[in-house]
Chain length 542, copies 2
């Protein structure tokens, strides 16, 4: 027997419709790539999104067709989010920081019909266009006056011309909520990028979950600055959740340095912002160097990689700002966890609270989570056992676009590729990447834990730990160290330094001093390369 | 083209599963009908819900079959919410305050297989049973020791016996999220009660929407006391949204007087509670009489009928408690609006804030809302125009159980039966019931506005305003007044008192002093009766 409630689909268009109807005068402020600040309202954004939908119809764009973007956070990019998905097409955000060959691969694989790009990427587009013959038109996100010179591009349009030429008389269609809405490629360290195809349903449910008080806690009293780009998993969904809440939106454009962010925070009275640790490190340095205070910011959401404990403490103690340590991935829309305290934690001493805050947080409702051992057996949520982190939920991927990589699921669960602990209160902590964990005698050793310990030595600039083959234990840890300039430390001193701070059997079997370590394009240690380089390394214990 | 996210249904069972997994030690505290306080955790509640699911299977309860409850708020009632809906049956909450004939009608119309009842309703059940021949068994919510004597009931069980006899080895099934989950009858002033049949999808979406910061703002830092009974539209969804948030739950049982609530608030450090204005009036009197303070409560949600401005102010100014003025109805699961401030309101002077707080609040995301005139034309959201309030959304009814009353929708919108204004910021204010509004010369006059004005006269105890036939204007307002004991006021004095406080054409055409006014079972003015009684009344202006 079915319930007798209205059978209405969850539509992305209903988010901007809601914001317009009930928060029509809430502001959207953008720092433009062509210079200056643009400000308008949700009412305006909704109107222009409808004009864009009519423009797309005039370009003969159909349901399900892909529209690419190469763009920073701005009001125009927001209009594309709503205009494209709202009319039933797929908003395909492309990371302009990837190598041009990867971008061309992605555009061609996605079969994008049009690419909307910021004028800062004009040169990139000129080099891309010859390799993307399927693209019917390139639309520069600017007014006619700012249209860049791109001689080799036949079908070049100025976004404002396109939008202004069309009426806002448009009614958002209602259709199956499982319809594809947006596409984002994730680039692993190996193989071609794979596409994650979100739906209207997954996007709206993710907005609900992430706006909750124990998610990002977004209300009509907030001004939100997404310091994570809209090409990084939809700026963690903030363009959707902010509209759901009717929060003011502040779009920083390309300037994500500490000084530029600080200026916007203060000028626009921002209350919450979200980004990766390097962004906040830059802000912290700017604050410290210039002896500044944050007058309106209450919460900084830190995700993408682990937030350093010292950073969490500095924002809290020196600036009165709460850090919300979050975790997720493209395949999860992206939010999986957020870190807020529970009732019973409120009265804990600061040191105890710190222990909670360094963890990646608790699962949002809508995310199921468990850790399993090598045999797939569920491990206890005791905060000690660590295993492969598996997730499941309506905003988690079931398969990649066009079926790339086959079925990624294990018994219906998505393996995140992270190794983590889960404590009895539901706080998850990443201890390693699955492929980087060292399997020694059937037990697992976290490479990250040892690296964190090694860099605590005053002479160490950077450290990497990998598993190297061992005849008795299968694998044993090898520590690679870059020494700080003009600093000395020996193999024995390194091991001695670590000896009483770590389980005996976690102590590396050897230390090698190196001049450099390989990194990925996004700055992470490229351990696949290290494992190759040291495949035949003979440990002294072997 | 469909998105490629996991196709997982929104299931009520996943709420208690989530609370158990990540908030297993959060408390659920209940004041029991048999006396004393019971305390356990979400982990326990989940375990007992699964035992109940096994017990229901042993009773041969099948998917879609209705299980009735006649019960106050308690941990056992919570287990029934999750156990019954979770295994696919329908949790049918019945209002024990209705007339016994209405209850019998409802039980038979719903075709309930079993009725779970609090022992305080043993006498009611004894009188009901002979009129409900279809019911296979009656389950008293108590231990074996407290089983009431009900001689005429053949199949009488003690709830704890039933649950304890079964294992907790039970895996919640996943099925179509549109499956019926719960049933609640709404009793109008005319005709038989009609059933509203909720689904798993509508319930989970309602929990998301209502837990948002601009809804009820529920987090893992809260202790929630639902002072609205679980037989009143699922206690406004709190048993679901509290589990979603991992909030402590405090169940007050039958004792909803100010003194009992105060005791629980303080003993259990409650942070948020929700109920109708009369409950909070009783609390306010208790606080004032005994010169008490509220030490942990931050928010009181007031709904069911309009919160008096003086009450909102008293809680705010004297007790530091924020009143969240909410509005909804059974047909909306029930929450439609909640009243929180926007960013731009935070710096307003108190008097300006008061004007916002007396309104019923802004629509939650998931509720579309508009006002229309008599011809169905949408009226402006200007805070002045008032019209029939229409709503639409995934937790709004599409039709009543078994199709009673035919299609209630107008072009896909549900007419709430309220007349309201909507201001440019989305705040809705009820001005009247649709059937009570007075249609004078094509324009509408709010009967409630005139009544509120009339009762402000020091000699008036109660007032009612109805439309009476008029040859020229169709209808004109007639004011009916009960004078306070030993107080005098004349027709002319009443009209004079109102003259400069109201639009000239809203002034009643006549005043009649009466000894009493008719009310419904829930204490509302029974205007249908008044309109009948005064159908042939001849106005002096006619």
């Amino acid at each position: 027997m079915l319930g007798q409630m209205m059978n209405l689909p969850l539509m992305i268009s209903s988010l901007i419709q809601h914001a317009d109807s009930f928060h029509g005068d809430a502001e959207i402020v953008s720092r433009l790539p062509e210079g200056g600040i643009h400000r308008y309202t949700y009412h305006d954004a909704h109107r222009r999104s409808r004009q864009l939908a009519n423009a797309l119809l005039s370009l003969n764009v159909k349901m399900g067709e892909r529209i690419g973007t190469l763009a920073w956070n701005s009001h125009r990019h927001l209009e594309i989010y709503y205009g494209v998905s709202g009319m039933g097409a797929v908003c395909h955000t492309i990371n302009p920081r990837l190598f041009p060959e990867q971008i061309a691969y992605i555009v061609n694989h996605a079969e994008d019909d049009y690419i909307f790009f910021d004028i800062t990427f004009a040169a990139l587009v000129e080099s891309l266009a010859p390799h993307c013959p399927r693209v019917k038109g390139w639309v520069a996100l600017c007014s006619h006056a700012h249209l860049p010179k791109c001689d080799n591009i036949a079908n070049l349009l100025a976004y404002d011309d396109l939008v202004n030429a069309h009426s806002d008389d448009y009614q958002w269609p209602e259709f199956d909520e499982n319809t594809a809405s947006s596409l984002c490629y994730t680039s692993g360290t190996t193989g071609n990028p794979k596409g994650v195809l979100f739906s209207h349903r997954s996007t709206v449910l993710h907005a609900y979950g992430s706006a909750l008080p124990d998610g990002l806690n977004l209300s009509a009293r907030d001004a939100v600055l997404p310091a994570v780009p809209m090409f990084h998993v939809n700026a963690w969904g903030l363009p959707y959740s902010a509209a759901m809440a009717g929060a003011k939106l502040v779009m920083p454009g390309a300037q994500l340095d500490g000084a530029s962010l600080y200026e916007l925070f203060e000028a626009e009275q921002v209350t919450i912002s979200a980004g990766v640790p390097t962004i906040w490190l830059s802000l912290l340095q700017h604050l410290q160097t210039n002896r500044l205070k944050l007058s309106t910011i209450k919460t900084l959401v830190i995700g993408g990689s682990a937030a350093p404990p010292a950073m969490i403490r500095a924002f809290d103690e020196d600036y009165g700002v709460t850090v919300n340590h979050a975790w997720g991935m493209t395949e999860m829309s992206p939010l999986g966890t957020a870190n807020t305290f529970k009732r019973k934690h409120l009265s804990l001493p600061a040191a105890e609270k710190d222990k909670i805050r360094v963890k990646q947080g608790r699962p949002l409702y809508g995310v199921q989570m468990k850790i399993v051992d090598g045999a797939g057996k569920t491990l206890p949520n005791d905060g000690q056992a660590f295993g492969d982190l598996l997730v499941r939920g309506p905003w988690t991927i079931s398969s990649y676009y066009k079926g790339e990589g086959g079925n990624p699921l294990i018994d219906g669960w998505f393996p995140t590729g992270d190794v983590a602990t889960l404590d009895p209160d539901g706080y998850m902590q990443i201890t390693d990447r699955s492929k980087d964990v060292i399997k020694s005698g059937g037990e697992w050793i976290s490479s990250i834990d040892i690296e964190n310990l090694a860099v605590a030595h005053p002479a160490v600039m950077e450290a990497a730990v990998i598993g190297v083959a061992h005849p008795k234990w299968d694998e044993r840890p090898l520590l690679l160290v870059i020494r700080k300039k003009d600093m000395a430390v020996t193999r024995e001193e390194m091991l001695e330094f670590m000896r009483d701070k770590i389980a005996k059997w976690w102590l590396p079997d050897d230390v090698v001093f190196v001049a450099s370590l390989p990194h990925t394009a996004t700055g992470k240690l490229l351990k696949t390369r290290l494992r190759e380089d040291y495949r035949d390394y003979k440990l002294p214990t072997a």
